[in-house]
Amino acid sequence: MLSRTAEYLYWISRYMERAETNARLLDVGYRMSLFPNPNGYNNEWESVLAAAGAIQGYKNKYNIIEQKKVEDYLFFDEDNPSSVYNCILNARSNALVVRTSFTPESWLAINKTYQEIIKLKNNNFNASDLPNLTEWTIEQVNLFRGSLSSLLRNDGYNFLYLGLFVERADNSARLLDVKYFVLLPKPQYIGGNIDNMQWSILLRSLSSFRAFRWAYDGDVTSTKIADFLVLNSDCPRSLSFCIQNIVKHLTNLTCSPEKVNKIYNTLKDLNIKIQEEKIESIVNFGLHEFVTQFINKISSVDSDIQKEFFN
């Protein structure tokens, strides 16, 4: 497989995953805007922007944080390199180059999404359209992922999934980083409204709201949520799940075993640690510190992959 092909496949699934993350974040923001909270209505939009890694770009463009602008910035804005619109355009232009390396169905899934988002962008949308837009995005991304099931299980497949899980690991970790404080047990908040709302933001934005209920019995506690999102390898967005899958798809690569080993060695410790660790000790060590370390590790794995395979 051409190095460039591997690179483009990797980025296609990163962009598609990112499009979904942004859509989920917008969905959360939209939900939150419908509930009153003590600090007014708008402060959730700031953390939505922060979790999307878009706060700096947004502030360069706008002075105030307001729903319509945030929605537009995260969904359609061409100036935001990670807007859903740009993600889909980028995924599509990469797909155009490597369409021979995946199935016609995968190409169709991406290309149809592209055709539709061009139309959506040309129709001015209302704030109340947002749930439809986010639902549409998630649907499209699922269509793309579904199409991957008919791929040959070769290196191209593994690069696609490496991209997907590197992106997801990063997205999940950044979201946790923005919201880590709500998972710290603070007596004054426990059982309070804000707390419940904040927890539900986290779970919803990781598409795990109902899954959590099924996974844990008894009361909702911050420790359980932290355990679910960090360590529970049944949860497809947890850090543990992501890292396991990065390892899996990395070690499944048949090309260049020595490169694979080199990257695997840098990941091994984190992978073992996250399987054995207890959530209490992470919280004691500092959830924020743990997540920060995790983000740095993922970012170095990402640059190793790019350096070793794509150059």
Binding site: M1, L2, S3, R4, R99, W107, Q115, D155, C255
Partner: protein, 468 residues
């Protein structure tokens, strides 16, 4: 005026009878639905070409539902004629890059060849595998009568359009399967396999495997034929590479893969000569593979088509193709050339200037239907404007009579109307010479128009060759 379907106003040609019945049964509603289906299909698969327009990033070429049909015997003649021409063009290239017999025989003046930019000096004295310079030739033909075809031009570099030929057939079979039960249409879907066989049969001397590695070299996604590049490489199961994916080391060409370097034997290039090798051609080119020409000349890789093959489809050389056929093959040309006046000759120029309003004048280096004058269809002022251009630079132009291109039934606003068509079949030349069992029919969608180019309102049709 020749009509492909109607023998006279009331008489349908035999081989169009089935189509006529089918057309009569189709309601406006069905036509609209099928048109929309075809458009959606083409957009979804991405068979689009880029435009500069802001509103439509990518355009699709209008597709007409009514196929253009050739009988077996009509096609047999074309097949012989196109293969004959392809062989002669290749023989011509082999000659002018070696002994130059045709020049010594005073058939073609040497300055017409050696002064051309498309003549590639670095090819002199080198003969590619099997002496084939142009393994894929697209010949543009028009029909003016039942048994009368003219060649408008030859395309020896990297003719495009074959993906339309294949996709037009796919969509027709998908939308109207019944038509293919009632008509015996020769399949064309083996074209990519044949193309790959052709490329494989052209492996370079130093290739010591029975399975040479072929790649398709594309300039990238901004190229208007990019869809075709990815379509063909997909169908052939070969890598589509850009020049940055390739590099030269020692005597060979390699591509960068995740496994490390992999040797490449045959490059089906869809980029121009100028961008092949900055060491050899354009030193300012940022694309290209430094050193590829050395590898090529020493038999480490084959480049299809050969650099410098473009001289054979030059509009000034075109005039001599019938002579080439006689000279190299000792045969009479099966397909005719259009009478052509080369404006660099004084007599010709005078004739052209006197008869501008009856002639078609083309730029020697022009393409895409731009920069040409269709005398009988032009206003006085544009004729005068062309007269000035022509007098200022006679070498830059040729003139031809306006041919009465045949009409093919075409759906215009749900009505069947006659529109002018041409044809580009694709000829492959490797171990064997063979013609695609069909081609690309382009249709001038505007009433009365002679211009079939997609950039100027042209559309396409499925092209059928009926089995014997």
């Amino acid at each position: 005026m020749f009509n492909e379907m109607y023998q006279s106003e009331s008489l349908i040609r035999n081989h169009y009878n089935n189509i006529n019945e089918w057309l009569e049964k189709m309601t406006a509603k069905v036509i609209n639905e099928k048109n929309a289906e075809a458009e959606t299909h083409f957009r979804n698969i991405g068979i689009t070409f880029s435009t500069n327009s802001e509103t439509a990033r990518e355009r699709i070429i209008p597709f007409d539902l009514i196929p253009r049909i050739f009988t077996f015997s009509e096609w047999s003649k074309l097949e012989k004629g196109v293969i004959q021409r392809t062989k002669a063009l290749n023989a011509f290239l082999a000659d002018i890059y070696n002994q130059g017999e045709i020049i010594k025989a005073n058939i073609i003046p040497k300055e017409l060849i050696f002064k051309k930019k498309s003549y590639e000096v670095s090819m002199f004295g080198f003969t590619p595998p099997r002496s084939i310079y142009s393994p894929i030739v697209g010949i543009d033909l028009v029909r003016t009568n039942h048994n009368e075809y003219f060649v408008l031009e030859d395309n020896c570099r990297t003719p495009s359009g074959v993906s339309y030929m294949l996709e037009n057939r796919e969509i027709m079979m998908r939308m109207f399967p019944d038509l293919f039960h009632t008509n015996r249409v020769t399949p064309i879907d083996d074209y990519p396999t044949r193309l790959l066989q052709t490329l494989i049969s052209l492996a370079p001397i130093k290739c010591n495997t029975s399975e040479p590695v072929c790649v398709l070299l594309t300039p990238g996604p901004l190229n208007s034929a990019y869809y075709e590049h990815s379509f063909l490489s997909d169908q052939m199961g070969i890598e589509m590479v850009e020049s940055t994916d390739l590099f030269v080391e020692g005597e060979f060409l390699y591509m960068k893969t995740v496994d490390g370097p992999k040797k490449v034997d045959v490059v089906y290039r869809r980029i121009d000569d100028d961008f092949l090798d900055p060491l050899c051609f354009n030193p300012n080119s940022v694309i290209g593979i430094p050193g590829i020409m050395d590898v090529y000349r020493t038999g480490g890789v084959n480049i299809c088509s050969a650099p410098g093959a473009g001289i054979a489809d030059d509009k000034a050389i075109y005039v001599y193709v019938p002579e080439m056929i006689k000279f190299y093959l000792g045969e009479q040309p099966i397909l005719e050339n259009v009478q052509t006046w080369s404006c660099d000759k004084d007599d010709d120029l005078n004739y052209v200037l006197e008869n501008l309003s009856d002639l078609v004048v083309k730029e020697v280096d022009g393409s895409g239907g731009y920069g040409m004058l269709i005398g009988p269809k032009s206003s006085k002022s544009s004729i005068e404007e062309f007269r000035r251009k022509l007098s200022a630079n006679p070498r830059g132009y040729i003139a031809q009579p306006l041919l009465d291109l045949s009409f093919s039934p075409t759906l215009i606003k749900n009505q069947v109307e006659g529109r002018r068509v041409d044809l580009r079949p694709f000829c492959l030349m490797g171990e064997n010479a063979q013609l695609s069992s069909g081609g690309l029919t382009r249709v001038a969608m505007n009433e009365g128009s002679f211009v079939v180019n997609s950039s100027q309102g042209g559309g396409v049709k499925d092209t059928w060759v009926l089995a014997e």
